[in-house]
Symmetry: C2
Subunit: 138 residues, 2 copies
């Protein structure tokens, strides 16, 4: 099947498949006589694997590691677990950072009347040296 079919079946865009090949995440596909890339079911399964891992936020680098482990029938599950747990930790840190941001923003927004008047606690909260700002940030 050609790249468009593989893209449709795997859920990975054709452009992205070429990109993955270029960076070596997947091996170079076979070619037809006319130079078109040619894919089989196994390649599509690999692409689906990649797609799922990426949708869980694994970096392309991590996906490369996971793919290697996936192909290795003798891998230790501990290796996979380590990658996944490292990723969970990173995800949790991102969540915490975003929650802190949300809290700060909502505090500022709740104090802003949001009408035609120019005074705005949001800008005042962002502005240093304003409204008794101690320079310690928000």
């Amino acid at each position: 099947m050609n790249i468009g079919q593989a893209a449709k079946r795997s859920g990975v865009a054709a452009k992205t498949i070429r990109y993955y090949e270029e960076i070596g995440l997947i091996p170079a596909a076979g070619r037809t006589a006319s130079g078109y890339r040619d894919y089989g079911d196994a390649e599509v399964e690999t692409l689906k694997f990649i797609q799922k891992a990426r949708s869980l936020g694994f970096s392309v680098h991590d996906v490369g590691d996971l793919l290697t482990l996936w192909r290795d029938r003798d891998r230790a599950s501990a290796d996979v677990r380590r990658i996944a747990q490292g990723h969970v930790l990173a995800v949790e840190q991102k969540i915490a950072a975003l929650q802190a941001i949300r809290q700060t923003l909502e505090g500022l927004i709740s104090r802003c009347h949001g009408d035609d008047r120019p005074d705005c606690p949001i800008l005042e909260g962002l502005a240093p040296g304003c409204c008794g700002d101690t320079g310690q940030g928000l």
Copy 2:
């Protein structure tokens, strides 16, 4: 003061200050006779404002809008509020997406014994067509 001093006082790296000037987020700084950029307290305050807004996750584009509003003594606070609320929405969506990812990952990890044995529910969860996978994803 030169760019290094402005960087230290504002918390924005010198490289980043030049970048902000290049993309037009801040006006081009004055220059000394020898060509060094020259900053005053007002510029440092602007940089601090930018630094705080960026630390709250506003895009550089949004910071530009906020700066315009900040400089406009007649702005309506509603304009600021709209930008901030749009950003909160985006932040909340990111948090939700990350939480879903975390949940999925933790489900997979909890089923993985994580030892020397090769069978691993994490990889099986990522692999399509495996273990009764319906192709419906995780």
